[in-house]
């Protein structure tokens, strides 16, 4: 791939004057030469002979010299200033700290010479941080350059903003740049820079970039004659469209027609933009990515045209190459892979999906490693589409072969991913077997992941649980060190829950334990299973109780403390299962090595178990040491672990930084997830009997050490996002109705259905995953303030932490109104989507009026009660402007929806509305009367609420006022 010769070290410095500074030579060469001629050594330069100390000495001398020039009495001319600032930059880039020269650099910005300005801006971009005091001066200089109408200067200024991208700069220029971008007389190159500069500001400070008239003009840049402008604008539009899909909808048809023109052009049409015979490959990729922000176009014409484009791209892949150069095939395939991504994203054209799959199938055997890698990766997403799943499966042999023979571990890993993705009931046995055999030689870096995958597939597709048990025991045998707690906890959980496999499991672990050297994880699983189900194989003289015990105990001394603690629990279980070995076990427990063990946990268990076995009657023993009750069914925690692994488990500083500017659904801060290494797994006391540190009752509850019961991988912190924009509006819409969509963004839709009777209610919350990707660690939480908590009782169960792409999960909230309340609970939803953490908060529309029971009454009754509730605290009144058209029927519907009865012919003025009802709370019932007087002329309403309780009047009035 070497196209560049790197041989001529000398040529660069040839012709540079000896020691004197030659004005005709570029300044930096002078710098370098100057330093060099004094014998400084720069790191690994070929001529560098001197020590690091010598370099530092030389540089310090140089710095002192520059400092004195800057401080000198004589004002420096622009040229000298530039020269010294440039030297400082050079020294900085060599890795030395620079703590002066900023002011001189800022001064250069106002120079009229390009070179001086350029060095000034470069220094600022590289060295000035955003909170510098100089920012005002810098911004001023930028402002002048932006206004200069000199395209070169404007370009420098825009690049500086794009490079620094600070909030201060966004504040200063976010309004100005859109104008430059869409102005008719702006030069093309300036437009390019302005588009990307705006993009940078939008990423750092989206709140400061207001959408406006310019947006529609920006979309039309997709039609621009200059392909460079289109290239830059497409990036901007793509980012904006992700956040504001409606506003940029028109970009779809423009992008399709632009793309169509490119893919159908002859290879010479685009001249400058043809790269190795491929027309505008980068722009094509960007346009295809823009289209991935949207569903398939609705307009049949646009859709047809896009399908044609995609077909053309697929056809071109079959044509003979126009060049043998790798650049040609790379550029062509870059477009092809992006087209395939779009096809997968749309997931609506079976024909295209299958063609894409066939194309990728060809790449699977390509001689270029890059292509094989990308084909495996791309096919992985294709496997999840119902249209192409079968087509992907036909490549199983090739993929298995890749797993065995690829040289690059990352390619093998993609192969393992793909096998996992294409696995279903029909091929699970084959795939699991291949993965197991790969595990024997797999790289250490990916073993744990393969173990998790095998464990999941074995469980998911087990028709026959004996196969499952065999598989997991094999896993432990082959890669015991990589079998995490989740995996062996899970096998125990499954065995306990399925009595058809218990006997087989006991027999198998017993046999596996016969191996002279078995992994400690096997001892754990074996110990646990024999402790529970050893009796099922005790009838066979080859596995009599005593033999079982001796076998386990022969491993005891080689095991770690947690495993030994587990084995002690197995022993006490044996005492119950097999009275004949009781004496033997008591001897073991009584030995000094147990009773006086240095480990507190072991000692305590020995003491307690010994005591228990001696004093408890058989009945008590049988009760206390009964078989474990089945575990509640829940999602495999292995799955959670795998997702965690594949997801952002390796939380790094890079991710931290990314998070800052990254898209939370509604801008909420991401809580710091526990990093992979710091994940707090439950203490490995292997306290499977639930004995823990709470002596002495070893009864009943499921294992407290069983990580299965705790989602140990959930993010530790849980900062709650601020309310989603529009949350208040949506909330108000639910005051008078019970069903509908509460929240929706590009990823997630939340729907509600609720019913209320008296002081009780039930709300069904539907979470819909709008994407094709799983949501992980999906955790909705209801948050009530302390005040609210005492007045409103909410009960709910956690939902499944994974929400498959396109799936919907439901959560039921049982509601009890204890006393009247004002606030609303907040529903906070946190989950992982792709690599990002999402955090959404919405107000949950559980409002006081939901507990209304309508009361019908006659006019006379109404006004009698009205008068009874006449003390000032009981009445609340609000006069407000109509927000909606004043329609009588709608108003009636709203009052009924609000929950009160609508009383006709009660008010002497037929234009007025009156209502009555009772608010039910657990503690009390509150009668409520309301009167709404519209004033059509003034477009105003007067709303009066009278209830026996001031806070109720107040709250109902607030709620209802928002409705009209």
């Amino acid at each position: 791939m070497t196209v560049v010769e790197c041989s001529s070290y000398q040529s660069t410095v040839v012709g540079v004057g000896d020691t004197a500074v030659d004005l005709d030579v570029p300044v930096c060469i002078q710098v370098a030469w100057h330093l060099q001629s004094h014998g400084a050594a720069f790191g690994t330069f070929p001529w560098a002979g001197k020590s690091k100390e010598a370099e530092i000495k030389r540089i310090n001398k140089e710095l002192a010299n520059i400092r004195s020039k800057f401080k000198g009495d004589k004002a420096l001319d622009g040229y000298s200033k530039k020269k010294y600032v440039c030297k400082l930059l050079f020294i900085f880039l060599l890795g030395h700290d620079i703590d002066f020269g900023h002011m001189e650099a800022v001064n250069l910005l106002s120079s009229n010479r390009y070179t001086e300005k350029q060095i000034g801006y470069l220094f600022i971009s590289v060295l000035v941080n955003s909170n510098s005091e100089l920012i005002r001066l810098i911004n001023n200089a930028i402002k002048n350059d932006l206004a200069s109408r000199n395209p070169t200067f404007m370009g420098l200024a825009l690049h500086c903003i794009a490079n620094v991208g600070s909030r201060e700069m966004a504040e200063a220029f976010a309004g100005e740049i859109p104008k430059i971008l869409v102005a008719g007389d702006t030069m093309d190159s300036v437009k390019q820079s302005a588009a990307l500069c705006l993009l940078r500001l939008y990423r750092t400070s989206p709140d400061l970039v207001p959408m406006g008239d310019w947006t529609s003009r920006v979309v039309h840049l997709l039609n621009d004659q200059h392909l460079g402008v289109v290239t830059a604008a497409t990036s901007l539009i793509t980012t904006l469209a992700q956040k504001n899909p409606e506003e940029f909808k028109t970009s779809v048809s423009l992008a399709v027609s632009r793309l169509s023109r490119i893919v159908t052009s002859a290879s010479t049409d685009l001249q400058d933009y043809t790269y190795y015979f491929v027309p505008a490959p980068w722009l094509s990729v960007k346009l295809l990515r823009l289209l991935q922000c949207y569903p398939p176009p609705e307009d049949p014409a646009v859709r047809g045209r896009l399908t044609e484009c995609l077909e053309t791209i697929l056809n071109k892949a079959q044509e003979p190459p126009k060049s043998k150069k790798v650049q040609h095939s790379n550029a062509k395939n870059a477009v092809l892979f992006e087209a395939i991504s779009l096809i997968i994203h749309h997931d609506s054209e079976p024909n295209l999906l299958v063609r894409a799959c066939n194309q990728l199938g060809q790449f699977l055997q390509h001689r270029e490693t890059n292509l094989r890698y990308l084909a495996l990766e791309s096919m992985c997403t294709l496997a999840s589409s119902e249209f192409s799943h079968e087509a992907v499966k036909t490549h199983i042999d090739t993929v298995i072969n890749a797993l065995k023979t690829e040289r690059d571990v990352s390619v093998r890993q993609r192969a393992a991913d793909l096998l996992y993705a294409m696995c279903d009931r029909s091929n699970a046995q084959q795939i699991v077997a291949e993965m197991l055999s790969y595990l024997e030689t797999a790289d250490y870096s990916i073993r744990e992941e393969i173990v998790l995958k095998v464990a999941i597939l074995a469980e998911k597709y087990a028709v026959d649980y004996t196969w499952y048990v065999d598989t997991i025991l094999n896993l432990i045998r082959i890669a015991g060190d990589y079998v995490s707690e989740e995996v062996w906890y899970r096998v125990i959980q499954i065995v306990i829950n399925r009595d058809d496999v218990q006997g087989y499991a006991a027999k198998t672990v017993f046999e596996a334990l016969q191996a002279p050297a078995c992994h400690e994880n096997l001892v754990k699983v074996g110990g646990y299973i024999l402790g529970e189900f050893g009796n099922l194989v005790a009838g066979d003289p080859r596995s009599s109780p005593l033999i079982q015990f001796n076998l386990l105990h022969s491993k005891f001394h080689l095991c770690s403390v947690p495993t030994r603690a587990l084995l002690l629990s197995t022993y006490i279980k044996f005492v119950n299962l097999f009275p004949e070995v009781k004496a033997t076990i008591q001897d073991v427990l009584r030995s000094d090595s147990q009773l006086r063990n240095a480990d507190v946990e072991l000692q305590q268990r020995a003491v307690e178990y010994l005591r228990l076995s001696s004093i408890a009657s058989t009945d008590i023993l049988a009760t206390v040491l009964e078989e474990m009750p089945p575990f509640p069914e829940r999602e495999s925690s292995i799955l959670a672990k795998l997702k965690k692994k594949k997801g952002p488990s390796t939380v790094t500083d890079l991710e931290e930084t990314k998070r800052e500017r990254n898209v939370d659904v509604n801008g909420g801060p991401e809580p710091a997830p526990a990093s992979a290494s710091a994940v707090s797994t439950p203490s490995p006391s292997a306290d499977l009997l639930g004995l823990g540190a709470a002596p002495p009752a070893p009864a009943g509850p499921p294992p407290s050490g069983g990580g299965l019961l705790v989602d140990v991988f959930s993010d530790s912190a849980s900062a709650v996002a601020p309310l989603a924009p529009g949350s208040e509006d949506n909330f108000a819409r639910f005051v008078c109705k019970n069903n509908g969509v509460l929240f929706e963004n590009q990823l997630l839709q939340i729907g509600l259905k609720s019913e209320f009777r008296q002081n009780l209610g039930r709300m069904f919350i539907f979470y819909g995953n709008k994407t094709s990707t799983q949501f992980l660690n999906f955790t909705p939480t209801l948050i009530c303030s302390d005040a609210l908590q005492s007045n409103l009782n909410l009960q709910t169960k956690p939902v499944d932490p994974t929400v498959d792409g396109g799936a919907q999960v439901q959560q039921v909230v049982n509601i009890e109104c204890v006393s009247d309340f004002t606030e609303a609970p907040v529903l906070n939803i946190q989950f992982r989507y792709g690599g990002t953490f999402q955090n959404v908060s919405v107000k949950l529309p559980i409002t006081l009026n939901k507990f209304f029971q309508p009361t019908e009454m006659a006019s006379q009754d109404f006004f009698q009660r009205w008068k009874q509730l006449s003390s000032p605290q009981q009445e609340v009144q609000n006069i407000f402007k109509a927000k909606h058209p004043m329609d009588t029927e709608i108003t009636k519907a709203k009052i009924i929806g609000f929950g009160s009865a609508l009383l006709e012919e009660v008010d002497p003025n037929p234009a007025n509305f009156v209502g009555a009802g009772i608010i039910h709370t657990k503690t009390t019932q509150i009668g409520c009367l309301l009167r709404l007087e519209p004033n059509l002329q003034a477009q105003m309403y007067r709303l009066t609420l009278r209830t026996s309780k001031e806070t109720v009047s107040q709250r109902l009035c607030e709620l209802l006022s928002e409705q009209f």
Binding site: C197, Y275, F337, L747
Partner: protein, 162 residues
């Protein structure tokens, strides 16, 4: 917990969240000396140094039979080696590998043309020009201009102002 049928919107509206964006560009020699570092995210100096070292460590152990892509933290590095120099671009995992691979090559061809057979020391001594080339071709973490003719024309125009 009930997992319902597909909701009515289908899966088509799913939006990949982060789109093309370069996190940084590094040019390093085999010994690990940085010849260009262009950052498109905020990093502090220690973090930059750490990244530089990590990238060097993951890239230099690979050979020609390997892909030009390496997973790197939660991102990926697309890299290409030219003689003793590694050109590395760090992007999001769902970005288009080949497009960036060729973007590197396109960039190198421009450098080669501009410096008439570019060599490592051109990058060292003309660092300020290299930054200009980068800004012409990549800006705000995006590909700005891909036409070699246009970039070179602009560079020559700027050179004439010196």
């Amino acid at each position: 917990m009930v997992t319902g049928a597909r909701p009515r919107w289908g899966r088509a509206e799913g939006v990949p969240l982060h789109m093309a964006e370069i996190r940084f560009i590094l040019i390093q020699n085999r010994a690990g000396k940085t010849r260009l570092a262009k950052w498109y995210m905020q990093f502090d100096d220690d973090e930059k140094q750490k990244l530089i070292e990590e990238v060097h460590a993951v890239v230099t152990v690979r050979d020609a039979k390997h892909t030009n892509f390496v997973e790197f933290r939660n991102f990926k590095i697309i890299y290409r080696r030219y003689a003793g120099l590694y050109f590395c671009i760090c992007v999001d995992v769902n970005d288009n590998n080949l497009a960036y691979l060729e973007a590197i090559h396109n960039f190198v061809e421009v450098l080669n043309e501009y410096f008439h057979n570019v060599c490592e020391l051109d990058l060292v001594f003309n660092f300020y020009k290299v930054y200009t080339v980068v800004d012409e071709m990549f800006l705000a973490g995006e590909i700005r201009e891909t036409s070699q003719t246009k970039v070179l024309k602009q560079l020559l125009m700027l050179q004439s102002l010196e």
